[in-house]
């Protein structure tokens, strides 16, 4: 045995050389795994966080129930009635069952020329004011922080004394979407004061005879 070793040594010139390995590593399994992981994370990830629309309702106090509703001017009041099949009706002012004639119900819809036109026309002053203010910011003539701008717009809305007061009423055939759409429309048209209230019996009656 010793002899053989000596012989090998002689052949290789005294140095034992390790078999030469390639310096490359096979990366295929690693790539496979990475592909899988990437696919997994891509599919499970939720990129767009849900957005929310904040709505604040007046406090309900059972003790205050018999109290009269706050007096609001009837010229500024616009009632919007939501009902089945995404139909929208509106009428101006207030219903007084003792004093006919009843106000006229006008039918419209959620399209651009529908309820939005009505709201914009009635809210023209405030809308123009806010649009001008935003325009000043966009063109760079006025440089203020976002929070300042927000509070300024809030102030415009608070000071507004001419815009409509919208009363939103939905009956039991209306869908949730209708309600969200109409509140959204208030935000789009910069309506300062609106409230979600219940149907009155007179309005239910009025709706029965409404144009289809």
């Amino acid at each position: 045995m010793g002899e053989i070793i000596v012989e090998e040594k002689g052949k290789k010139g005294g140095k034992r050389q390790a078999k030469k390995h390639s310096t490359r590593i096979d990366m295929t399994p690693m790539v496979d795994l990475m592909c899988l992981l990437i696919t997994f994370f891509m599919l499970t990830t939720a990129f767009s966080k849900p957005k929310v629309m904040v709505i604040t309702m007046p406090e309900k106090d059972p003790k205050d129930e018999p109290k009269d509703a706050p007096r609001i001017s009837s010229e500024r009041t616009l009632n919007i009635l939501l009902t089945a099949d995404h139909k929208v009706y509106y009428y101006q002012g207030m219903i007084d069952p003792k004093k006919p004639p009843m106000p006229e119900l006008i039918k419209t819809d959620f399209s651009k020329d529908g309820i939005r036109k009505v709201l914009l026309l009635r809210n023209k002053d405030l809308f123009t004011k806010i649009a001008d203010y935003r325009n000043l910011r966009v063109t760079g003539k006025l440089v203020v922080a976002d929070t300042t701008a927000d509070s300024e717009i809030k102030r415009f809305k608070k000071e507004d004394k001419k815009g409509p007061i919208i009363l939103i009423k939905a009956d039991d055939k209306a869908k949730y979407k209708d309600m969200v759409d109409i509140i959204d429309e208030m935000a789009i048209c910069n309506v300062a004061s609106y409230a979600v209230v219940d149907f009155t019996p007179a309005e239910t009656e009025l709706l029965k005879n409404a144009p289809k």
Partner: protein, 211 residues
Amino acid sequence: MPKIKQPARSPHIDMTPMVDLFSLLLTFFMLTTSFRPQEAAPIETPSSVSEKQAPDNDIMTIFIAKDGKVFFNIDNGRDTSTHFREKLLQKMAEQYKLTFSKIELDKFGKMSSFGMPIKDIKAWIIAKEPEVRDKLQIGIPMDSTDNQLAWWVRMARLTNLNAEVAIKGDAETDYTTVKKIMDLLQENKVNKFNLVTNLQADEVTMKDMPK
């Protein structure tokens, strides 16, 4: 003239750049991911122009499915050591004279939205198969004799004092169901709701002003 011999190419491709890229992508997705929470029913929310983001923590969500079934979810809070879900279930168990073991409470803490009468909640927690679990999700009862949803809201308010309320309703849900829930919330002194919507830009400028 002898032919020039092409040197034998190795069939291996150099995958290093590809691996580099994949590593980057993987790291990106791993860091940005926030897992989509499991939901009891598919809900298609209506759209609005609101750009306000829903808060991540301290929020209780009331889900209203298309068929009017109601589900409830609350998070564990900003700090994972607060264990709001466990505490909430404990409070509900006291209210309805039920008992839950430590393991069951723990497991409930890790689960997501639920909607079943309180007596079935134990079965839901210990169920192994997702089919069994789904079958139990029949909505939280909210009739006037035993308004369990009201109790969930009340107890959740007591457990997490900072919790806000979000309503995630399907666009085609009847408004009456939503109204019922809003009334219920107002009775529990919740006057501010976050309605979960999809963002859909819609802008009106002075040009749209009718003449």
